[in-house]
């Protein structure tokens, strides 16, 4: 697996705030690039896979609180 191309520490941000900030950050990447995300929120393990399912981005690594998301 490639190393991440970008890093975003979302801290304790969760729910809609987390995924909207993540969306803005992902817009800065090129297709295929990987974002390394730190998300401490207890809902993240469920929310982030759901968000990836909805948006088409690929969750390539999930080890809470660390997530690697590949831009579609």
């Amino acid at each position: 697996m490639s190393e991440p191309d970008a890093f975003y520490d979302a801290g304790s941000m969760g729910c809609g705030e987390l995924v909207l900030e993540l969306r803005f950050k992902m817009e800065e990447l090129k297709s295929g690039q990987i974002m390394k995300l730190i998300a401490l929120d207890a809902g993240a393990p469920e929310d982030l896979p759901a968000w990836c399912n909805l948006t088409g981005h690929k969750l390539v690594k999930k080890e809470h609180p660390e997530y690697w998301i590949q831009k579609k």
Binding site: G16, L20, L22, F24, A50, T55
Partner: protein, 122 residues
């Protein structure tokens, strides 16, 4: 995954918790590539006025003004009920970003055409 999502909000300063959570959920929807609309009616219409949300900051969430600005920045639409707005003597020339004054037909259109839309209410 395409589709629409509606958040129906009837509160503002009278229930800052619900007003805030409504926009958090709206942001989740717009961030998930849904064509998202927040419908403001009754007391909710006050949030359509620029400056009104400035002092609403619920514990555990970003300030409501910021949530609303981010929502509009991401392409979210805010529909403000016309008669509710007028009844409260609010200025339609002083709307927040992303807001449009509408009537009930616009809400019905959003909810019922092109596959319809799920809707949550606060």
């Amino acid at each position: 995954m395409p589709g629409k999502f509606c958040v129906n909000l009837t509160c503002s300063g009278d229930n800052k918790d619900k007003a805030t959570v409504a926009f958090v959920v709206a942001n989740a929807a717009v961030a998930s590539d849904k064509e998202t609309m927040v419908f403001l009616s009754t007391e909710g219409v006050r949030l359509g006025s620029r400056g009104y949300a400035d002092d609403i900051n619920e514990e555990g969430f970003a300030p409501l003004k910021e949530l609303m600005e981010n929502f509009a920045k991401a392409g979210g639409k805010i529909f403000v009920c016309s008669p509710c707005f007028k009844k409260r003597g609010l200025d339609e020339n002083n709307l927040v970003a992303g807001a449009t004054i509408v009537g009930g037909a616009k809400l019905i259109e959003f909810l019922s055409v092109d596959g319809g839309s799920p809707c949550v209410t606060y």
